[in-house]
Symmetry: C2
Subunit: 331 residues, 2 copies
Amino acid sequence: MNTQSHHLWLFLLLVLTNLFITACSKVDPLPSWNEGDSKQNIIAFVEAVTDKSSPDFVPAEERIATFDNDGTLWSERPIYFQLFFAIDRVKQLAPQHPKWKTTQPFKAVLDNDMDALAASGEKDLIQLVMATHAGTTTEAFSQIVKDWLATAKHSRFDRPYNELVFQPMLELLTYLRANEFKNFIISGGGIEFMRPWVEGVYGIPPEQVVGSSIKTKFEMRDGRPILVRLPEINFINDKEGKPVGINQYIGRRPIAAFGNSDGDLQMLQWTAAGEGKRLMLFVHHTDDKREYAYDRKSHIGKLDKGLDEAEKNGWTVVDMKADWKVIYPSN
Amino acid sequence: MNTQSHHLWLFLLLVLTNLFITACSKVDPLPSWNEGDSKQNIIAFVEAVTDKSSPDFVPAEERIATFDNDGTLWSERPIYFQLFFAIDRVKQLAPQHPKWKTTQPFKAVLDNDMDALAASGEKDLIQLVMATHAGTTTEAFSQIVKDWLATAKHSRFDRPYNELVFQPMLELLTYLRANEFKNFIISGGGIEFMRPWVEGVYGIPPEQVVGSSIKTKFEMRDGRPILVRLPEINFINDKEGKPVGINQYIGRRPIAAFGNSDGDLQMLQWTAAGEGKRLMLFVHHTDDKREYAYDRKSHIGKLDKGLDEAEKNGWTVVDMKADWKVIYPSN
């Protein structure tokens, strides 16, 4: 190769590289989102906080984004998916607990009385979760969750529960991660119920999962250390508990927060109260054809005060029906 | 440039690149560590778990390393540094609490009776910490800690407390990080006492700090959300609490754990009980000239059972006097 042809090759390489970079920068990071305010708000926010020349620039280590799980990253209807897990566990464990036949909320479960169950108060539901989530080691429990997910299916969609995650939100998680955000789950759901599967599904490692928890106890059993799960509440990571959990686990205020119900309101308020540019977003369930439609009067995932606050403060409200091209990942 | 000279330049570039890579690979990652078993064990472990062709290879996301703080990353004598902070706070707040003059452990503090204070039980000390660490917002407390560190000095070494960190351990943190480990602090000390300064000193971000904590409460004050620190224990991250804290915050078992006292024993046991190659290490305080010498009979940082277990299980025990060229970073 002579010098001239060498220069030509170099030139061609530069042109190609340039074309490639331009092409890449034009790839839509949120292909399942229709054009509109929601998508525009998200992209404008990410571009502002990652642009070093912008007054809104935020260093990478402070790019904390917090996501509710139930109703925000996956569906929560007809009841929270963790409750289906608890129900299946009650049925499985019932032979060892004869009293459950006559005691609520266990009776409702064993009678398949979903109305009675749905009408249960938060404390009843927590009791149900505690009774079915305790008594094993942490390792055994993780396996129980994995086994359940591998076999249980959502009755309406006939798919495993961890496939009923929102494709547009998966893209959002990826987009934020690509822009050096650290994504955390801040859920009212059980922390040990989420950890076995969220890394594979959302790309969120266990150390970035915050949830409700029961107490555990360290023990030496046959010379081997174990952690036993106790039927005692440790922490409820919901409503006022979410900023508490964020502070406890992360120790930094998020700059972006994503929720779908009044249970996320305090997390969004806490996020909004920090200095600098912020993104607060509610997913509004408006699509009864492809998913579910509910808000102010819903028993599960009630979004009432949150809608008022969002309007008052100019937070982003995603209209699932209008804003999302698809709901779930393709099979 | 003709083709021949072009080839010559390419060749020279390759040679230089190669030299540079070779030079880099020979840089000692732990220059403040003397050659010996401790250093060798650390390097052999890191090389084994990061070598893709090794049977001991561990994927990067599972390279969790946990470090105790007091006595492991910084000194803890004559008393835990956080107690000096509490003492200074008691003196500062005393005018607002006349009863402290006659109530232990506050009386001991106000009388400068260090012997009485050192003899206090754990509960007394916790009470002291709670009384001086609560009553503010989380933001205000963080500032109080920073202000204290900027002015307070260790009486023996006449240096700010956050300069009394162990240079060899700083190198170890950097070495692990360079090998894609995620370093966590797992300390009995207060989580909110550590977070304001550990990122700058250890390169460990707040979300990788686990410690003891008091409860906090979410409140709206003048339309702004705050977290108020309550004088109520939330969690004691010591002894059996360390594996509990590790599970609660990280949700993965560490593959390497570093401590210096019996308060870290359960963390090391928990780490050791996982499958695959592990590194368990105790820092043994053997240098009364350059730092302090204490172990089995010490009131603070007692290392008794831990030494027996280390010998029995072949864990690494660092002899500070023999293994470390320097103790603290140079001024």
